[in-house]
């Protein structure tokens, strides 16, 4: 896989009409039509034009037909095709978003939930349509001191980019509280933007709503400029992707990592604090962005294994073969649309693998997943067999005396 910077350089300025002038365009020409991408895609069978066929159409000058289909609305940006492609074509990174953008414009009717999410994010900086002023309201629900930069702008080591789900979703807030407590106990020097923070414009949104992404990038960069910090840590692997792969095109230079690898760096200090035994059989769901896109497979597992009593069990598809929860690429707001097309939600499909492991706890590390899998659990009626927890929540549960 290419290093982040190389990818960024190759993505910069690539457009469909001048595709073949780019290095990626040349790679696309080298496609051997093996179909690995289509076969590996979790929604491949529902796409009239899976990646392999998109390349055929492109080469034949028939790409307009692909724009007119809704195939790429079934792409959840899971990076599977890209990871498996023997020619290392950066499908999810470059070609698919360019095509998806065109499909979105031509779609006869934009699915209502998705339209609302886009409009909300543009207006309020979060897809929930909640007041931007209440973005940090959750910090009043814990005893841990949390610094908001607007109130105390002295330089800080870590800008903790909390993101929308952790700020507003009740289950996301559980992870926000857990993370704050862990950062505090580890004595990390951190602060948040609070009401000034807006959605980073995650990989999904960045791919099919370039205007929204640009608006968010412009805004967030103008806020970052106001403060002095060394690096960004975020719980949301989608935000990690935004900062790592897209923001650098706009003169953004901060090192960014996700909360899981950040906590893992401090494991030697964290492990001794985990004094409470949790007698759980845990299975971990690899987030697409954290795993396939950024290679963090071992860190989440090491954190879980540091909890006394926890035993890990793997699902049928794991690590780079993990199946997406279905929330990426806009999928978070397309559940109704999928249902109308009689397509099973990926979270429901994935849950069957979870249940097959016999685990008591499904551990996750991406804020989309808690709500998606909890929905799936309720739908399937497995409430008494499995609980869904963010890794940070499990770590906090294992802290003795907290």
């Amino acid at each position: 896989m290419l290093a982040g910077e190389e990818v960024i350089e190759q993505m910069w300025g690539v457009s469909l009409d001048r595709l073949y002038e780019s290095a990626e365009g040349q790679r696309i020409l080298s496609c051997i039509q093996c179909g690995t991408c289509a076969g590996a895609c979790p929604y491949g069978e529902h796409m009239l034009y899976p990646p392999r066929r998109i390349i055929t159409m492109l080469k034949a000058g028939l790409i307009e037909e692909v724009f007119d289909s809704d195939s790429l609305f079934k792409c959840v940006n899971c990076y599977t095709c890209m990871t498996k492609c023997p020619r290392e074509i950066k499908l999810t990174e470059i070609l698919l978003p360019l095509v998806k953008e065109q499909s979105a414009v031509r779609l006869e009717e934009m699915p209502a939930e998705l339209q609302k999410a886009i409009e909300n994010t543009y207006r309020y900086g979060n897809s929930y349509g909640e007041s931007a002023r209440k973005r940090a309201a959750w910090i009043d629900t814990i005893d841990v001191p949390i610094r908001i930069l607007a109130k105390d702008p002295t330089p800080v080591d870590i800008l903790w980019f909390v993101e929308c789900d952790l700020s507003y979703h009740p289950r996301g807030q559980d992870a926000a509280r857990a993370t704050a407590l862990l950062f505090h106990l580890l004595d990390l020097d951190f602060a948040i933007l609070g009401p000034e923070e807006r959605c980073a414009g995650d990989c999904g949104r960045l791919s099919w709503e370039p205007g929204l992404a640009e608006a968010l990038v412009d805004y967030n960069l103008s806020i970052f400029e106001k403060y002095r910090f060394n690096r960004i840590v975020t719980n949301d692997p989608h935000a990690l992707d935004a900062f790592k792969y897209r923001y650098p095109m706009f003169e953004f230079k901060y090192k960014t990592t996700a909360t899981v690898p950040e906590l893992h760096r401090h494991l030697d200090r964290l492990a001794p604090m985990l004094s409470r035994k949790l007698d759980y059989l845990v299975t971990y769901h690899d987030s697409c962005c954290l795993g396939r896109h950024n290679g963090f497979y071992d860190e989440p597992r090491a954190l879980l294994e540091a909890i006394p009593g926890v035993r890990l069990v793997e699902m049928e598809h794991t690590r780079e073969n993990s199946i997406c929860c279905g929330g990426g690429g806009g999928g978070m707001w397309l559940d109704t649309w999928y249902k109308q097309q009689d397509i099973e939600r990926l979270s429901d499909r994935r849950l069957r693998e979870v249940i097959a492991t016999g685990a008591d706890v499904l551990a996750v590390a991406c804020p989309y997943e808690v709500s998606r899998f909890e929905d799936a659990v309720k739908l399937a009626g497995y409430e008494d067999r499995i609980i869904v927890r963010d890794i940070t929540e499990l770590l906090v549960e294992a802290l003795g005396g907290h």
């Binding site: 207006r123 309020y124 205007g211 929204l212 640009e214």
Partner: protein, 256 residues
Amino acid sequence: MNILVILKQVPDLVEELEINDDGTDLDRTWMRYIPSEYDEHALEQAILLKEEHGGTVTALCLRIGEVDDTLFTAAARGADRLVRIEGDFEGISSRDAAAVYADHIRRGNYDLVLTGVQAHDDLNGPVGARLAAQLEIPYVGVVSGMHLDPETGVIHLHKEYPGGLLTVIRTELPAVVGIQSAVKPPRYVPIAKIRQASKSAEIGEETAEPQSLTPGYTVRRVFKPEGGGRAEIIDGAPEDIAARLVSIFSEHGLVR
């Protein structure tokens, strides 16, 4: 055909509403405004008509809070001309606003005026009717569909009544129509298009001094509903709430 769409800015209910010190109006100091939902339907309906029959769509806003975003979004959706009227309009009654709109319309050349049937900040709904009265042209409100016959310049308006009745009302143009909903929900426009519009679209500026027409009305008191003292709100952690509920139930002999 030239269509005018009136877009009103109303308080954004996503933010907490505060009442001013006199208790006669909302506190508008930090108020955030958004376009009224019904007006967005009026705009959509206007653009659908334009797409079918040609012509132009003009979007008109009184300066209340930040209106440029509303106008640029209208341009991105398909409005050809944007007009912002400057003046002291915060909290203006729909009756006084109608006079400002009428003045603009008399100077223009419009065949059809569309506006939302009502706005959630006064719920009076008369702006369209008053406007039509001042211009001495027909008004039809609560419309949820329309059909234009370009040959005859006659418009057929669809209206829904309680009890499952539908009517089609025929009127000549020019006319004012109060829109309940467009035939289709307001369309999606890529944000890039809105941003593009905000860089390239021009807003025509006019000024007006609103007059308080008499007889008018005054708002005597604005207040939040007062509790009757019959409800107990239980706050706290889920466990504490549950414990409190159990004790209430057992007090009333519902559980043992």
